[in-house]
Each structure stands twice: as structure tokens, then as C-alpha cells.
Amino acid sequence: MNTVDRRRRLGPSNAIPLSFPSVESNSDIENTSVSSFNEQKLFIQLSNIPTATGSSFLQLGNNLLLASVYGPRPSFKRTFNSKAVLKITFHSSPFLSSRQTESTFNNNNNNNNNNHLNSDIDPEYQIVNSVILSTLETACSNLILLDQYPKSSIDIFVNLINTDKSTKFIELLSLIHTAVNLALIDSGISVKNFPSSIVSSSSSSSSSSSSSSSQIFINSIHSDIYDNDDEKDLQNEELLTFYIPKSTNNNTNIKSTLKDSIDDAIKQSRALRSELSQFCYNKL
């Protein structure tokens, strides 16, 4: 690379530019935390909001999340509801300077201004509120036994307090789901089964030459079918919701690797679930 400053703005050509070692060390930390995302310790606190029916606080690295469940409380809609209505609100702290949220969410009017701000963010890291909300809605409506709460509404609030640049959106998504799952369990609201959500990034063995990893996010429960054989039992998992983000490599055929990545995700999900359920069991 040619470092000579033709316009001489930086002074004579033999001048040494200022260096900022602190920035470099920062990026080192980020890199290590990326690799060890799944190995990081998860801090969980339940029932930390006394007025809520159920709540949970999660910390993983620099990611702080608060989820709370209110209800069932009376819903005053005109129409008759034979089951509870779910309302889910996602809120990210306004001081998340390091991250930009989706432009359309914040202000529709000045789309153009925001587009430019957004442009320097890798799409893998951009927080897309609509995906969070739609997956949460699907997952919760599949999980909660809404029939048991006619004419009621259940409100779920998720607050993203802090995150960092090294957490991918999809990893954040699974954390959000975990927080909501735990808050629901804490609330005592009737649910079908013990849920757990995970992001599985399996670097598929078939395309090992390319460094691309196909990622899949699932939030799953065990079905009502049980099998003694562990391999067979993998088929007895049910997905509450799933999301496959844009893959880094467009050439891989998603479908061919999907089966393996789902199986892999289910295995990881089960492992997480056994730990979470042990945690909840001990809390009793």
C-alpha cells in the first residue's frame, strides 16, 4: 500500500503517523470473545421485578437483558377472545452507542438519513427489531397454553440494556429468547414444555474449504413422544420458532446442510435445556 500522502496533509513524507495502541488491544478482546461466545458464563437472576408475574435478568459477557412477563390480566377488547392475547414489546436501551438498530423502527420519516448511518454496519450485527418481535410472537404463542386464559392478555417486555460490537444479531436473538423463556417459567404461566433456544453455527463438513458457517437459530421444546434411544429421541424435538439468517457464503446450498445443522442445533439446545432446568429446579 502506498502510504505517501500526496497532498502533504500529514506533513513531510518521512513523518511517522500517530498510532493508537489502545484500539488494537480492544479489537483483540473482541476477537477472543467472539470465539468463546458459547463458552462464556451465563448469569441468570429470576424474579428480580417484584411487580411482574415473572421476570428474568441475563448477562452474558457484555450483553445485559431484562425480560418481564405481566398477566394474565383482563383484556378490554371488544371482541370475544377464547384465549389469551399476547403482547410483546422489545425495547433496546437508547444508549447503545455501539450498535444501530433498524432504521425503519426508529423513525420512518427520515429514512434517508438513517440509511447512511446504517451503511457502515455489517448486516450480521444489525439489530432487526421486526425479526425479534415476530420470532418471539411465534415462539410464545406456540409455547404458552393460551387456551387456559380466556379474555386475558399477557404482556411480555424485553429490554436490551447493553450489548457489544462482537455479538452477532443472531446470538443476541437467542439470548433474548432465553430471557423470555426463563421469565415465562418464572411466572408460573402454563406452558407446554421446558423451552430452550440456541444458535448453532456449524461449519458444515461438506464445505470445509470455504470458511463459511451456516447458522440457524432455533427455540425448541421436547415433544410428547419419548424414546430411550438418544439418536431416535432427536427426532422428538419440536421447534417453536426458527430463523436462518443470511449466510456468509451464497454458494452453499442451504437445504443440503440444513438437516445436519438442525440436528446439531437440537443437540446443543438439549444440552442448554438440561442446565437451565437444573438451575430452575434448584431454585425451587
Binding site: F105, S130, L133, I221, Y243, N253
Partner: protein
């Protein structure tokens, strides 16, 4: 649509049986009849109108604007307007995100490149003119219209024409604004029609799941009893992202078995070719008169 317990149980049972039968006697791979026209809006580069027999109607328009930027993620803008819905609802945002994401993934941005500095920026405006009354005040989510929107966008993009550039293509050294030919006769299609340089914009398919049955293009009655919905994107002859589970209605939701995700992709692979062929045929019909469409 509010179905009685007996009605929905009947529809559900006939869907999940070993030989699935749908209420309107369609095959699992069969669409409802659709009508579509394109290229009829005189003041937009490309446009389409597509409607379902149940009255759901979607008008899309593509407008191009010259901008001086080379940021790929800026080049496609999508805005969805749903009759009776606010712009900032989760639904509108999510549909916008999904359409935009699918297009960004599949688009060949060389088609938008004018010169080294200038690009065409596309504004895709989608308007849902009418939704059946049953949709409102009931358990339906609107996600099923995603498939219609996606087909509308596909047609609009296919029919979009861009004016011919008359100024020099290489403006890296020279500061020059691009100029275009006034003659629309020499305009070229945004998506080239020749087989070498062409590409397909993404199509989003909505697949409904009940029991072990997967069906394409669920009707209102079916959505009421479906356990899960999956949106699968298809572009350039293969399945791409975004792939996501969606709740089509909140009345009978259940979690899905992982093998059904694969099964729904098989279904999309089965029908996608036919759908694309049909849409291409429509887009190649020339519309001369504005009134012919209506």
C-alpha cells in the same frame, strides 16, 4: 374468518389425513387462481397489480433514481403500505425487512450500476389495497400476504425499464453527471431478458403446516387450522435466506417437527419453477393502453 369448532376440526382432519384434501379441493402444491398485470403505471419505471380471488389486491411500483453512491445496501428501498394498518406496526416492518432482505440477497447489482460513481437507486412501493374483512378482528396475522407481495414485486421488477445512458460510462477521472436518452423506445429492461446476464429477483413462498402435511398458498379457511407457517425464499433456482417460521393465525398454533422444515423446502422446490415461468409469461405481455388493466 370465524369457524366453528366442528368446521375447523373437519378442515384440520381432512388436511392431516394420509391423503390430504383441502377445502377447495386443491392439490398441496396448487395455488389459488391469481390475476396479474404489469407495466401499467405510466409514471413509474415498473409496476404490477396482482390479486387473489378473495379480493386481496396488491399494487407495486418500482421507481429508479440516480444517486452517487456505491453502497450496495442503500440501493434498494422497500416500503409497504397496508390498507387500514399503520406503517410502524411489527407486521409492516417485518414484511419490509423480509422483502428487502430477500431482494438484497438475490439482486445482481451490476444491473443498477451506471458508471463508476453513479448507481440507480430503486424505490419499491407496495400497496395492499384491500384485505378481506375476515382478516380483521380475528386470529389471523397478515403474514400470508407476503407471498402475494413478493410475486407483485417480482413482476414489477421484471417489467421495470431503465432509460438508456448516453453519457460516458467511465467517469472515474472526469466529473460528469450521467445523461439519458429521451427516447423510451431504446430503454432497456432492468432485469435483462437475454439468458446470459439475467437473474431472478427473490420470491418468497409461504408454506402452511398441519400434522405431517405441507401445503402451499393456504387459504383463509386453512390458515385458521394450520399449526405453523414457514416462509422460504427462492431465488436463482435455489433456496436462499431468509427462511423463518411465521404464525399464520393464532388459533391453532403448535411447534413443528424439524423434518417438516425440510419437507416444506421440498414443496417450494417443486412449485417454484412453475411459478416463475408463469410470472415470466405475464411480465412479457406488453401493455399498451393504461385502461386495459382495469
Amino acid at each position: 374468518m370465524v369457524l366453528s369448532v366442528a368446521e375447523s376440526a373437519f378442515i384440520y382432519d381432512s388436511l392431516v389425513s394420509s391423503h390430504p384434501s383441502r377445502p377447495d379441493s386443491r392439490k398441496p402444491t396448487q395455488y389459488r387462481p391469481l390475476k396479474a398485470n404489469c407495466g401499467f403505471l405510466p409514471n413509474s419505471n415498473g409496476s404490477s397489480r396482482i390479486y387473489n380471488p378473495d379480493g386481496t389486491e396488491c399494487i407495486s411500483s418500482v421507481k429508479a433514481k440516480v444517486i452517487r453512491s456505491n453502497n450496495i445496501s442503500d440501493l434498494i428501498n422497500v416500503e409497504i403500505n397496508i390498507f387500514g394498518e399503520k406503517d410502524n406496526t411489527t407486521l409492516c416492518q417485518h414484511l419490509t425487512t423480509l422483502i428487502k432482505e430477500s431482494l438484497n440477497d438475490s439482486f445482481d447489482f451490476n444491473a443498477l450500476k451506471l458508471t463508476d460513481k453513479y448507481y440507480f437507486q430503486l424505490y419499491i412501493d407496495i400497496s395492499i389495497l384491500y384485505l378481506p374483512e375476515d382478516f380483521r378482528y380475528s386470529s389471523y396475522t397478515f403474514y400470508s400476504i407476503l407471498s402475494l407481495i413478493s410475486m407483485g414485486v417480482y413482476l414489477a421488477l421484471k417489467s421495470a425499464k431503465l432509460p438508456l445512458l448516453v453519457s460516458d460510462k467511465k467517469d472515474f477521472e472526469v466529473e460528469e453527471e450521467p445523461t439519458f436518452s429521451d427516447d423510451w423506445e431504446v430503454s432497456s429492461y432492468l432485469i435483462p431478458r437475454d439468458s446470459i446476464s439475467t437473474f431472478q429477483p427473490a420470491l418468497v413462498f409461504i408454506v402452511g403446516i398441519a400434522g405431517n402435511t405441507v401445503i402451499i398458498d393456504p387459504s383463509l379457511e386453512e390458515e385458521h387450522v394450520l399449526e405453523h407457517g414457514v416462509c422460504v425464499t427462492w431465488s436463482n433456482s435455489k433456496i436462499t435466506t431468509p427462511i423463518q417460521s411465521l404464525a399464520l393465525s393464532t388459533s391453532n398454533n403448535k411447534a413443528i417437527k424439524p423434518n417438516l422444515v425440510i419437507k416444506s423446502m421440498d414443496l417450494v422446490e417443486q412449485v417454484a419453477g412453475d411459478v416463475i415461468n408463469a410470472l415470466n409469461t405475464i411480465s412479457e405481455q406488453e401493455i399498451d393502453e393504461f385502461d386495459v388493466v382495469f
